[in-house]
Symmetry: C2
Subunit: 341 residues, 2 copies
DNA sequence: TTTTATCTTGAAAGCGCTCACAATATATGA
DNA sequence: TCATATATTGTGAGCGCTTTCAAGATAAAA
């Protein structure tokens, strides 16, 4: 068994509370004894038991982060931002992939009710609205990232999905496209909804009627983009541009369009969303989202709530249009970074 | 304050030990009382305090996973495999990015000495050898993933780096390349060393002398590939093929080669390592490593060690060559999936 | 009937820590 | 000198759980 405060105390002739005080940097301990205790700690290589401390302090210095079971995309970068911020306060991240081996419902609740974590951050969660609200009752701070919470009491921190989508749409409109197809994400996904909304808003503002037949639902994966293009073509829907709900689908769409002999971007410009790493290589125009930043902010928010501060409703982080070859109407060679090998 | 065993016991007229037994599914509790207790638990919505349990059981059902501060590449996929396996036993993953905000030395030790986790899995660690050995003394299981431990007592689970590298090299040799340049990873990185070794071995076997001037050190990032090509060209080193230590650097290399007017693959075929997502899009030939599988196996190994089983020295997982456009000597159009947009 | 074995349950100690409070020593003022 | 304030340390209870041990109840055997 490992050493305890008692052991250290015995070593230098003080009680365990004095040792505890030294460890917690309490001011009410004599300078000389402090020295002695520190020496003993070093000699014995004593390290405090964090679990025991957590029990008495009722605080684990751990935050849970839940992710949907999508490994690619923006998540790693968000996580890195989170760990960066958490580390600054000595906190750790308990990362849980939802929907894989774990039962989708129940896992998150357990994390809270078992008092394993001080707060929960859910990224792009598809956890049922009512579940989230219910979870909020266990008064453990919950923060929603990249999806808006159903309840006012749960703060959210979001990308400006609608704004970015509108901008992307306007880019295509500026290229004189008037029959823009939108490959949207799944219905239960917040970002998907918002991006679709931004798309429609931009059309409306431009005085172009939205046509339901040009909106196809995908699954946020490459293959969803492929299927969406097939569906459009097979249904005989005409379109002169594609706005995809994320980059993966955009890449799939480009792949399928080219396979069908359509020229991208000359005939059909394509724009995505997220600016994932592959986007650069494909030359995909897209809407960049501040991933690292959203991670940092989410943890900051978690800390504020842990400290008892009342959270504001939600924050929206700005996005940024990135123009690459896939929307270069003239087919400008300059913008083609990598035209295959 | 949340409910305790005592509260549940009071509700249905039994002691806390009986409730504890029910929760832990002990056989020595009467069927009738068990029912009553379960009902009370449900009524009160009682959930056990995991921290308290961890304290008595001296086991946290949590595994630490450390990652280098590189967000891209193969790590997310490895993590997903790990969480999948951990979840099957109700375990959780404490994910720590080394080298970012956290002090590189000390963080891992703390995780152990503080008894926060039941085992540690280090991925592609650059933690000092001696540190690892020292850590092993705290007898908490340690598993090395994608890097070999210095000590016999720490089991490692590895990709067949040398084998894959040799195969990649042979592919280039088969294309009649005789002056193959190798952009290797950093000196302190295990994979980098192994891949370099595989490269040399393959040359030797083929009876071609290894020339040090054709081996340049990179940093496993895209930019490292760019710089390596510049260095080779500026130093006037001739080469007729490039084997990069990972895909990121290979992509950087291709980018720079094309910028310098060299034709890939006709003039200079390029092959990478890892098969990251971008590789498909670029059309990069590479060596695929079983990421998800290595994650699963690592956790499995951790569990075995937690259960007291003596670990075997190390496991090597096979790799697989993936041929794409970047090594298609004839420039076969069929293999060009995405020749830019 | 008494004895012994079998089931069930509760009391109590302990995991390693923190913290309120009591105790002691020393210093200050009357 | 004694009362009172101040600095420093130790004692003990408690965080919520598990687990050993003993006790009580019941059933089986003698």
């Amino acid at each position: 068994m490992a050493l305890t405060l008692e052991d250290v105390g015995r070593q230098c002739g003080v009680s365990r509370s004095t040792v505890s005080r030294v460890i917690n940097d309490s001011p009410l301990v004599n300078e000389a004894t402090k020295e002695r205790v520190l020496k003993a700690i070093k000699e014995l290589k004593y390290a405090p038991n964090f679990i025991a401390r957590s029990l008495t302090k009722n605080c684990t210095e751990t935050l849970a982060v839940t992710l949907p079971d999508i490994t690619g995309g923006v998540f790693p970068e968000i996580l890195a931002g989170m760990d960066e911020m958490a580390g600054q306060r000595g906190y750790h991240l308990l990362v849980v992939f939802l929907g894989g081996a774990r039962p989708k419902s129940g896992t998150v609740e357990q994390l809270i009710t078992h008092r394993r974590v001080d707060a929960i951050v859910t990224i792009a969660s598809t956890v049922d609205d009512s579940q989230l609200v219910q979870m909020a009752e266990w008064n453990v701070p919950i923060i929603c990232v990249a999806h808006k919470s159903p309840s006012k009491s749960i703060p959210s921190i979001l990308f400006d999905d609608a704004g970015g989508a509108a901008e992307a749409t306007r880019l295509l409109l500026a290229h004189d496209c008037r029959q823009i197809a939108h490959i949207r994400g799944p219905k239960d996904n917040f970002d998907a909804e918002e991006r679709a909304r931004g798309f429609r808003d931009a059309l409306k503002t431009a005085g172009i009627p939205f046509e339901a037949k040009r909106e196809v639902e995908g699954n946020f994966k490459r293959e969803g983009g492929i299927r969406a293009i097939r569906e459009l073509l097979e249904r005989g829907v005409s379109f002169d541009a594609v706005f995809a709900g994320n980059d993966e689908m955009a890449i799939g769409a480009i792949e399928e369009l080219k396979r069908r002999g359509r020229n991208v971007p000359r005939e059909i410009p394509v724009i995505g969303f997220d600016d994932i790493e592959s986007a650069r290589f494909v030359g995909l125009s897209t809407v960049r989202v501040p991933t690292r930043e959203i991670g940092r902010r989410a943890i900051q928010l978690a800390f504020e709530m842990i400290d008892g501060k009342q959270p504001i409703g939600y924050q929206i982080l700005p996005t940024e249009i990135v123009e690459r070859a896939s929307t270069a109407r003239g087919g400008d060679a300059k913008t083609l970074r990598l035209d295959g090998v």
